[in-house]
């Protein structure tokens, strides 16, 4: 018993001395004076929504290629489920590891802000990509396409697939709090108000949580619930792949149209067997590549994130920072049977 008491005392002492220090640590490379070159050895970490998602594997590899070009240090980490509290834990670890820039795709607009701001206070820069946070807790946002552009292309594709007589449509989204999903869905609802889409009616929005199994069963549920459903839009690569798989082996194949944002490799079989006529995406590798170059320019003091800042992003060319410290990659690209074999990601 005496042993236990003294050990407890020792432990308490260790804790007290370990923690009794003013928290004024300043990790990471101090942003240098204005210079035109990327610092070497920058530690840049990619923290996607979830790690076992091929979309993010592709984007993070794009970032890795960029980082190798400017001789930085690349790392990728993240939760295996798209959960914001899990992301917080990784942000804290990255901050302790004195990462120079955390490049993150947020699972929730606000939940990770506290941790991000603590990391920034400790010296890290924060760049969001793919899915933004509240602008107050990040330095830059790399957006793959405008919400309007994505909404426009989704509606155009589903309307073309369904045909002139129109009908009921539904949306199969990812997680309900994902910033990018909600922005796109809002824009889609606005687009639906336009006269050319007057024959389309949005009857339901369901969430597959970016999980294959759940997206699959949600699609099942949609079709069971709405006998007059004519089309499904799934603006998430996991969702559209799962929905396509369900439709292609069911009696609704060809009768209920599907479009969304998907990767060519996952969707190829379904485009060829007629389940899906066309879908859209951008190149996630380019997104990661751009994010890495932006991160490096930020950390090297070449840009600060204010509107009008210009920087070069390797082989992608020059980019300018827009409103709200946002950098735009470009427009979405449409994939269909004619061009799908040209891509491999």
């Amino acid at each position: 018993m005496r042993k236990v008491l003294s050990m407890t005392a020792l432990l308490a002492l260790a804790l007290a001395t370990g923690a009794c220090v003013d928290d004024s640590s300043d990790g990471g490379a101090t942003p240098g004076a204005s210079g035109g070159t990327i610092k070497s050895g920058l530690k840049i970490a990619f923290l996607p929504k979830q790690v076992n998602n091929p979309y993010f594997t592709t984007s993070d590899n794009g970032g890795k290629a960029a980082i190798e070009e400017f001789k930085g240090v690349y790392s990728e980490t993240g939760p295996s489920e798209a959960s914001p509290s899990a992301q917080v834990s990784y942000i804290n670890t990255l901050s302790q590891q004195k990462t120079d820039v955390i490049v993150v795709s947020a699972n929730d607009k606000n939940a990770i802000c506290g941790a991000l701001n603590e990391a920034r206070q400790a010296g890290a820069k924060v760049v969001t990509f793919d899915s933004d946070t509240n602008p107050s807790c990040r330095d830059l946002f790399i957006n793959q396409a405008t919400a309007e552009g994505i909404a426009k292309i989704q509606l155009k594709l589903i309307s073309e697939a369904i045909g002139a007589e129109g009908g009921e449509i539904a949306i199969l989204s990812a997680t309900a709090n994902a910033t990018n999903q909600n922005a796109w869905i809002e824009m889609m609802k606005t687009e639906l108000g336009k006269p050319e889409y007057s024959k389309l009616k949005l009857v339901d929005t369901v969430y597959g949580d970016d999980q294959d199994q759940k997206s699959f069963t949600e699609t099942q549920g949609l079709l069971a619930k709405h006998p007059n459903l004519k089309g499904i839009i799934s603006p998430t690569t996991v969702g559209v792949a799962a929905a396509a798989r369900y439709l292609s082996s069911s009696s609704y194949k060809g009768k209920v149209q599907l479009t969304g944002l998907g990767t060519p490799n996952q969707m190829r079989a379904f485009v060829k067997d007629g389940t899906v006529k066309a879908f859209a995406l951008w190149n996630p590798a380019d997104l990661g590549y751009l994010a890495a170059w932006a991160a490096a320019s930020l950390a090297s003091g070449m840009i600060t994130g204010k509107e009008g800042d210009k920087f070069k992003a390797g082989k992608l060319g020059d980019f300018t920072v827009g409103k709200d410290a946002t950098v735009l990659l470009g427009d979405p690209f449409t994939f269909n049977a004619a061009n799908i074999d040209q891509f491999n990601f």
Binding site: V4, L11, A14, P84, S85, D108, N110, G114, A176, Y207
Partner: protein
Amino acid sequence: MFKRVFGSWDAVVVVALVAVSIVGAFTIEGVGDPRFWRFVTLEAIPIALIALPMTLIVITGEIDLSVASVLGLTCTVMGQLWVSGVTSLPLLIAISALLGAALGAVNGLFVTGFGLPSLAVTIGTLALYRGLAFVVLGDRAVANYPPEWTTSAIKAIPRTTLPWVILVVAALAVVFGVVLHATPIGRGLYAIGNNAEAARFSGVKVRVTKFWLFVVSGAMASMAGVFWTLRFASARADNGTGLELAVVAAVLLGGVSIFGGRGALLGVLAAVALLGVLRNALQLAYVPANTLTVITGSLLIASVVGPNVAGMLRDRLRRRHT
């Protein structure tokens, strides 16, 4: 009594904690730094809060698997109340505590009133309460709390980096510890765990005691929910999913027997800290989270297999000598 209660296992866990911390501090960069302890304690606070009553419950031979769902439901109710205009933090906290106690009382009623096995009941309420959390908030998240609430929730003790809430946890731990190890109520808990019938005959109010344990468990889980919401500044229906496993793992690792009748709080708290330190240290060392999952599971099994196998060997040796 001290020797029986502060058995050697608690010392083992405490030693392991100190050893891991020291080894980690020397081999992994960042371990042992003030910020490291801050993050470890921030994550450990909800687990510790729930582990305190869970220890007492397991000692009586029962279990409460619904705690994480109580946490989640509390978060969503807090969120919904805030959105509906309840803006007084003390009021929100009070309502949450009452809610948690009520949810715990439901468990207690099923277990002591209807005589149902707590494993099955709390698996049912695990699903029920988590489901209700989703009914309350759906897939939304409430995140527009005033920033002062969040900053004050995670504010550090002056001149340290540790969050002040850890002092509350420490105070509660002392209260629970005194009740468990130095009062007739506590001795009654051990008696119930060892032999409920005999305990009843010696005058211990078995059913009443168990009922109140579940109530306290619910209330503590809801307090953990309040802290969780404020720390992440976000109330979501899936807050805390899976936390019950972490708590049970810590309780078992801390030396509390699943059959009841044995265990002490010191071991449990040390186990909570040990698991937290391990996880954060390994993450700092770039070890993937999967490895930690494997380690946690193996530790759990080893912590029970070890003493069992040791006991069996000892018996066999003793038999050979006689």
